[in-house]
């Protein structure tokens, strides 16, 4: 595999964390959350600032998580307590974060060229590339990233099976029902939005360290990329269980990056990237709807009168 594709896999893993975050709101809570563009850059900004100030990059990334959670909680409170429409609440936080991020960074771009970052740590581990019969399949960096992302995935899987996690899932699935069992859906919504944006900020912090700079505009379009990863992943790799779908979402992120890398190699103008991404999401969102219509007709025919048992 060539260099661009190797890079695409590394990026796909890194943006897999973003995709996991978007999955938590978009699928689990069933809330479209646009805070993402702001919290992604927030994560990058906070981590870069701290690292330049001499912080350990792990600590800086952890702080990015906490700050991202706060951003999500802000959207959550706006939406649940302030009764602001979810989309609008997210947009408001996102816009506000643009100024906040500029404040944090002090300027529009913070380079991390000679700093110790997660990337320099990773490289220092000296994990060799995975080469099979002369073809490099995974870089050493990608292997370390994969381990990191999978650990996060397993933590999320575990969380979604705890009592609290079940409540979160039920909040997205049937809020009326879960309230009748004593759960405050305002709280679960706020918790879900917090965790989601915490993950998104980690993804931003990770990207800043990987590319060697944080930029105030680095979050633009991230929500759409996250959605593309979630939807593509579900379509390609299935969503029958939590364990499977969180893996699928990461896979979706990698596929998305590979497709973009291939398209660029084939001569796609980089300025058309966002348009292509939006088109991917549009197709992925609408095709299942059409397909479902056809599927439903078939099911009605085959299932009628059967399977019921009651």
């Amino acid at each position: 595999m060539n260099l661009a594709l190797m890079g695409a896999i590394e990026q796909g893993l890194l943006f897999g964390i973003l995709a996991l975050g978007v999955y938590l709101t978009f699928r689990i809570l069933n809330v479209p959350d646009l805070t993402v563009d702001g919290s992604f850059a927030l994560g990058g900004a906070v981590a870069a600032k701290l690292i330049i100030g001499g912080s350990n990059p792990f600590l800086a990334t952890a702080v990015a998580f906490v700050v991202g959670c706060l951003a999500g909680a802000f959207t959550g409170v706006l939406h649940t307590k302030g009764k602001v429409n979810a989309l609008l609440a997210g947009i408001l936080t996102m816009i506000a974060l643009y100024s906040v991020n500029l404040r944090i960074m002090g300027k529009a771009n913070l380079p991390l060229l000679r700093e110790e970052t997660l990337l320099t740590y990773t490289k220092a581990l000296g994990i060799p590339n995975l080469v099979i019969s002369g073809v490099t399949l995974l870089t050493g960096v990608a292997i370390v990233f994969a381990v990191g992302v999978l650990i996060l995935k397993l933590i999320i899987d575990w969380f979604l099976h705890t009592d609290l996690g079940l409540d979160l899932r039920a909040t997205g699935d049937n809020p009326k029902m879960i309230r009748s069992f004593g759960v405050n859906t305002d709280s679960t919504t706020i918790i879900g939005l917090s965790l989601s944006n915490g993950l998104v900020a980690v993804s931003g912090a990770w990207l800043a360290q990987f590319q060697g700079f944080a930029d105030v505009g680095m979050g633009i379009g991230m929500i759409v990329i996250g959605l593309a990863s979630v939807i593509v992943g579900e379509v390609l790799f299935g969503s029958s269980s939590i364990f499977r779908v969180t893996l699928a979402v990461i896979g979706g992120s990698i596929v998305y990056r590979l497709v973009i890398a291939l398209a660029l190699q084939a001569g796609l103008d980089p300025s058309d990237l966002k348009l292509i991404t939006a088109l991917i999401v549009i197709v992925a969102l609408t095709v299942p709807t059409f397909a479902k219509g056809i599927w439903k007709k078939q099911v009605v025919r085959t299932v009628k009168g059967g399977t019921d048992g009651a």
């Binding site: 099976h161 705890t162 009592d163 019921d308």
Partner: protein, 265 residues
């Protein structure tokens, strides 16, 4: 046990659509009572249930349960005391979660949620045992998503979930109305079995006069936001649907009962 005092609820107050849904309702329910509630469409039955559950707050009046004033408690705060089954079989369960996950949520009713696994083998054992009582074979389908169950099965599961932790009050709002007669009868039987076993204080709304007369030990009729008939057990046992209609006419001073949805059979 449950005390409703002077509860008033107006919708769209001050507009042309103003509607008095509950008009100075007073009701005292004793522990262990099983009340059936009938009344025409728009009489205020569902509103009364929502006021008790905390899904809606009354404009005036108060509600207390076991001597505790819960008037200002939110729905989720009262949920530790109240179990509910809704008319819509889709309403009481989470369709994209498995049977065991739904039951785990029901089991945690009113408790502080912890970060431990919602379902474990010990709980599974309990779930299987309880599901057997439903006689639907669900005990062997713990990992099936609830969305794949039939309406009757979902309603049976809802009933089990609502009563799992033996709530102080069980509210049933036409919980058999969306089912075909055979499945409705099954849920009726289950309801009686479960209420009897746990001696649950129950309020059940129904449009079926036979159900209202045959089930429970007290009957209320609502009309235009007020309780116009309150029939005790002894009298209820002797009544036929025709007697109920007559009692309604007497209570309303000659107004005849015109209600398509009432089932006389």
């Amino acid at each position: 046990m449950l005390n409703i005092a002077g509860v008033h609820k107006v919708f769209n107050a001050g507009t042309v659509n103003e509607k008095i849904a509950l008009n100075n309702v007073r009701l005292q329910v004793k522990s262990g009572e099983f009340i059936t509630v009938i009344g025409s469409n728009g009489a205020g039955k569902s509103t009364l249930m929502n006021i008790i559950s905390g899904g809606m707050l009354p404009d005036t009046g108060s509600i207390s349960i076991d001597g505790k004033d819960v008037t200002r408690w939110g729905e989720h705060q009262r949920a530790g005391l109240i179990g509910r089954v809704f008319q819509d079989p889709m309403a009481g369960t989470a369709p994209n979660m498995t049977i065991e996950e739904n039951l785990a949520i029901a089991l945690a009713r009113g408790e502080k949620r912890k970060l431990s696994f919602g379902v474990n083998n010990q709980k599974r054992e309990l779930f299987r045992e309880q599901l057997k009582l439903l006689d639907q074979g669900l005990e062997n389908r713990l990992k099936t998503k609830v969305g794949f169950l039939s309406g009757g099965q979902r309603q049976a599961l809802s009933l089990l979930m609502a009563t799992f932790t033996e709530p102080k009050i069980l509210l049933l709002d036409e919980h058999t109305a969306a089912l075909d007669p055979k499945r409705a009868q099954l849920i009726v039987d289950l309801t009686e079995k479960i209420v009897e076993r746990h001696k649950l204080t129950t309020i059940m709304v129904t449009h079926n006069m036979d159900q209202a007369l045959n089930m429970g030990n007290r009957l209320l009729m609502l009309h235009d936001g007020g309780i116009i008939l309150d029939i005790p057990d002894e009298k209820k046992r002797t009544m036929k649907p025709q007697d109920l209609l007559k009692a309604f006419e007497t209570a309303r001073g000659g107004e005849t009962f015109s209600e398509d949805r009432f089932l006389l059979t």
